[in-house]
Every structure is written in C-alpha cells, then in structure tokens.
C-alpha cells in the first residue's frame, strides 16, 4: 500500500504551520520574509498560496508514475513502494531534466551555489518509513493536510464530497492528473481558481517517451542488417567493376 497526502483547501486557514514544520524538517531558514514568498523554491519546499479568501498548498505531487524519475539520466530520482518520490543528491549531475519534465513545476534548483543540487519535497520518506506522519500533516491544526494510505484517502475524499455536496467542487485533483498522484486536493471551487494546473494530461507521462525509446533495439538490429546488407551489395558491385576494369 502506498502513502499519500490529502489537502482539503476548504479546511485550510492559511496559518502556514506546514511551511514552518517543513523548513524545520529540512533545516532550512524560516522567517517572515520566507513565509511571505508564496512560491516553492530551493529554500522553501512547500508553500501556502492565497487566492482571494481561499488557500492552496504547493508541494511535490509524488506522481504514481513520475515523469521526473523516468527522465533522470542517472536514476537520482526514484518512486518508492512506500509512495514518496525520493532524490539521491550523490547521483545528480545537474542536467535539470526533472525541472523541465515535471508537469507541476515542482523541482527547484540551487542556482546560485557552486555545487548545486535539486530540491523538492520527499513526503518525509524517513518519518513515514518509521510509521510517523509527514511533518506538515503532524503540524496542521485543522486537518487540512492529512497523511495516510492513498486508497483510504481517496475514499475519504469521496465521502467528504458526499457529506457536504454544496461545500465542494465535485472532483478530486490528483486522481487522474498525470496518471494519478500521491497528493490529492479537495476544493470548494474549480481547481484552476486555486492555482492548480488543469491542463495536465490524464495519462502517465513516462509512456510518451517510452513509446519512442522502446524502438531502440528494433532500430539497431534492423539498421545493422540493412546497412550491412547495402554495404555488401554496393561493395560487391565496386569489386566486380574493378575486376572487369582490370581485364580490359
């Protein structure tokens, strides 16, 4: 069973306790200036966004089939069986393909460091493997961020919508986006109104690349036979021409 996070925008009061807890867990500085930045970056791995009187939260979506992990040429990113997409800074050589490939614009880069790394939320992989909830979920005073099994959280989200049909937009963001994510959203209004990207394809993105890459063995084997064959024919022709030339 894989872990997930359910963020219910209707319960969020914008207290930013999740931001503080996250900064503490990563050992990143957190003060009023950082709190005012409503955007995730290499020094702020989750951010509360204000959309009028509503709030939204940004963090890594931990896709079920993550584009970032599929494109990373050195395998620095991995989807774990537990749920989180984790990053090995010792492998990363800084191509930033993960930033380019992420449909949710999540990964951030330490642009101003001489020896930089990519930074993103890892859904508190360490804590969760010990059975503890994520730092953000533990810190949330209203239950807006809840941590649990993905299937259970999906069922709970459906239940919340059924219980309060007037209070919710009747969809769960993350159920199908990019083939499904391990961070799920509930909202009172359509998701684009709380700043979520709604043009994300409802299919797993790695398949798009794989469709081309899986042809490599076929291209190599067919190409070898074809090119070798052409060479064999043309070379024979040239030899024959040479031999005939000598005879004359």
């Amino acid at each position: 069973m894989s872990k997930a996070i359910l963020y219910d925008s209707t319960l969020c009061i914008g207290c930013r306790a999740c931001e503080g807890a996250c900064a503490e867990r990563w050992g990143l500085p957190y003060n009023e200036k950082v709190a005012a930045e409503e955007i995730i970056s290499a020094h702020k791995l989750t951010a509360i966004e204000t959309h009028g009187e509503r709030y939204s939260r940004r963090l890594c979506m931990h896709c079920v089939e993550p584009a970032c992990a599929s494109v990373c040429p050195v395998g620095a990113l991995q989807k774990t069986a537990l749920g989180p997409v984790v990053y090995d800074p010792e492998k990363c050589f800084g191509c930033r393909y993960c930033l380019q490939a992420c449909a949710f614009q999540v990964p951030s880069y330490e642009w101003n460091l001489r020896l930089p790394h990519m930074r993103k939320c890892d859904m508190c992989y360490e804590r969760q493997s010990r059975g503890e909830p994520t730092a953000c979920a533990a810190a949330c005073p209203t239950g807006a961020t809840k941590c649990g099994e993905r299937n259970a959280l999906i069922a709970e989200a459906h239940q919340r919508i059924a219980d309060k049909p007037d209070g919710y937009f009747h969809k769960i963001y993350g159920l199908e986006e990019a083939g499904g994510t391990s961070v799920l959203y509930l909202s009172a209004v359509p998701f684009e109104q709380i700043g979520l990207r709604t043009n994300v394809p409802h299919q797993a993105l790695p398949a798009l690349t794989w469709g081309a890459l899986e042809m490599v063995p076929d291209v190599v084997s067919t190409g070898t036979v074809l090119l070798g064959g052409i060479w064999w024919i043309t070379n024979r022709r040239a030899e024959v021409a040479k031999a005939e030339g000598k005879r004359k």
């Binding site: 599929s70 050589f93 800084g94 191509c95 330490e110 394809p201 790695p206 081309a212 890459l213």
Partner: protein
Amino acid sequence: MTRRLPKITVWRAIFAAIMLVGLYATYRRIMYGLGGVTNLSDRFPWGLWIAFDILCGVGLAAGGFTLVAIVHIFNVERYKPILRPAILTAFLGYTLVVVALLYDLGRPDRLWHPVVMWNPHSAMFEVAWCVMLYTTVLFLEFIPVVLEKFGWHKPLGWIHNISVPLMIAGVLLSTLHQSSLGTLFLIVPEKMYPLWYSPILPLLFYISAIAVGLAMTIFESWHSSRAFGRALELPLLASMGRVLAVLLSVYLWVRCLDLMHRHALGLLTRNRTETWLFLLEIALLAVPAALLFQRSVRMNPGALYAAAVMVIFGFICNRLNVGITALEASSGTNYVPRWSEIAITLAIVAAGFAIFRIVAEYFPVFEVQAREPAFSEARETAEARVEVG
C-alpha cells in the same frame, strides 16, 4: 627570413575579443554558479546552452555520419574528397558539445555519472551513451588522418580492418541520438506550444539533422576552398544540393501533414510571437528548398552557398524554437539569454572555427582531393549522373 608575429587581421582581432569575453564569462560561471551567468530559473531550466550548443551543435555535426553512409556504405566513391572535412567537423562538433555540457551541467565534475548510473527509461541517458560512443567512433574515423601525417602504418591497418563495422556503428548511433534529441521533449505535451510539440518529434529531428549535415558540408567546402585557395568541388556540391532539395521537401511535407493531423494549422492565424518565429523557421527552409531545385542556383557557387547558409539558419531557428520559444508561454516567465550565456556560446563556436582551420592546415584533411583532380572540368557530366542510393 625572420619569424614574424602573426599578422593582426580584423578576423583575428574579433576572435581574440570573443575568446577574452568568453574567458571572463567562464570565470564567472565557475565562481558564481549557473545563477550568476544565466537567466535560467526553476520555471525555465533549459536555455540557450541546451537549445543552441547541444541541440544545434549535435545537429550541425550530422554531416559526418551522412557522408560516411554515402561514401562507405552506399559506396558513392566520388564524394570522397569532402568526406574527411565532414568527419573533422563532426568530431570537433561533438567535442565542443561536451565542452558546452561542462558549462551547462550543474555538476560538471559528475559528467561521467551516466557511464555507471543507468536509467534506460530516460531519453537523455540514451543520448549520453550514444554521444559518448559516437565521439569515440568519430575519433577512430578521424585518427587515420593523423596517422598518415606521421606515417604510422601499423595502427592505420588495424583501424582499416574494423572500418566497416565502425562506420555502420557510427551511422546507427547517429540515427539513435539525433532522433532522441527530439524524444527529450515528448514528456512535456502540455508545456510545449502545439506548433512544435508532436509525437513524431524524433523523426523530424532525424530528417532535419541529415539535411543540415549536407548543408554544413557545402558550407565548409565553400569556406575552406577560399581559405586554402583550392578549387571548389562544385559538381559534387551541386548534386548534394539536389539531394538537399529533396530532403527539405520531404521534411516540410511531413511537418505540414503533422500539423494537419493534429489540427494545429489554425494556430497560424493568431498574431503571436510563436506564429512569426514558426513562419521564419519554415521560410528559412522552404526558400532554399525551392532555390535548390533550380539548376542555375546549384551550379552557381555563391547562390549554392547562400542556400546552404539559409538551411543552416532555418535549422538553428527550428532547434531554438523547440528548445526555447515553444516553452516560454507555459512557463509563466520570459526567458532571454544573459550576455554571459551568449558570450560562452560565441566562444565555443569561434573555437570550433579556429581549431578546424588549424587542423585542416597541418593535417591532410583535403589531401584526397589533391590526388583526384580535374573535377572542375567534368562539372556538366558529373552533375548529370546522380547516383546516390
């Protein structure tokens, strides 16, 4: 005669200036990181260095594998005089791509990581391996020139023995990574402007790379004939122009079909930057294609050269559009390269020209041509019997 210092010419002064500015930008890159020299951001992580130095660099070096295939696999011997310069261009091109990577990678000290850390699901992993192997192949294809110069015949024989598999491997590796550079962008369907995003990007990248490889061969033959005062292989280049015209037509037709099937042609009615840059790209490929169908253009060195230059610019425009233009709108930022990004790119290009010149001057790159003269006399007949394929 006493030895004099190299004469200061306008071109040498420009070259020195470019290299000095590039050197300063390099210093800044090392000291202040990517953020200190580029306008890249989390929203726009790939810029000029990927779109030009890598995407264009690899493509412009495609003449190497195209000519190897023509001369050694299809056995069209008469193209031999322009084979070596094409291999030299390719070898230099790939070497400079690796240099550019050292600037662009956040951790250039880990350039070797893909050798031992694998992810076969990544298009970039495949490109990395192909570029690595193909640069080795190009080295082996070019090294006979050096061995000949010093008269080392034994290693020359070894390389000759493996030359056929080597060349086939080179063509295959090129086919794979030229197309895989297009595969890199398949993962971002919703981020890329629909005039450029297409499931057949790999195919489009492949065809356009072969076309620009031929254009580059015409380009460098023209320049070296002026620089070294040797006769231009006009009939050869003219028949290459013929192939180029057909390739460009096929490419443009496939692009057109692709846009039609994806119902993206309607986007051209919108007055947006993307529309204009798309039209510029297409014009820079369609005009030379139309020109090269004219016999008078093919047989006129100046006009042939101009058409080749247009193809090169059209190709560059395409790769910059795919790598930058197409991704601007969805990123929510407005990326324009910083001076230092342009300075380093210029320095790499200038170094490429300079090294080519030096190598061509001291090694028998154009020697084959000297052994088989009298091409200029046979221009009419040679142009008449095109036998590629």
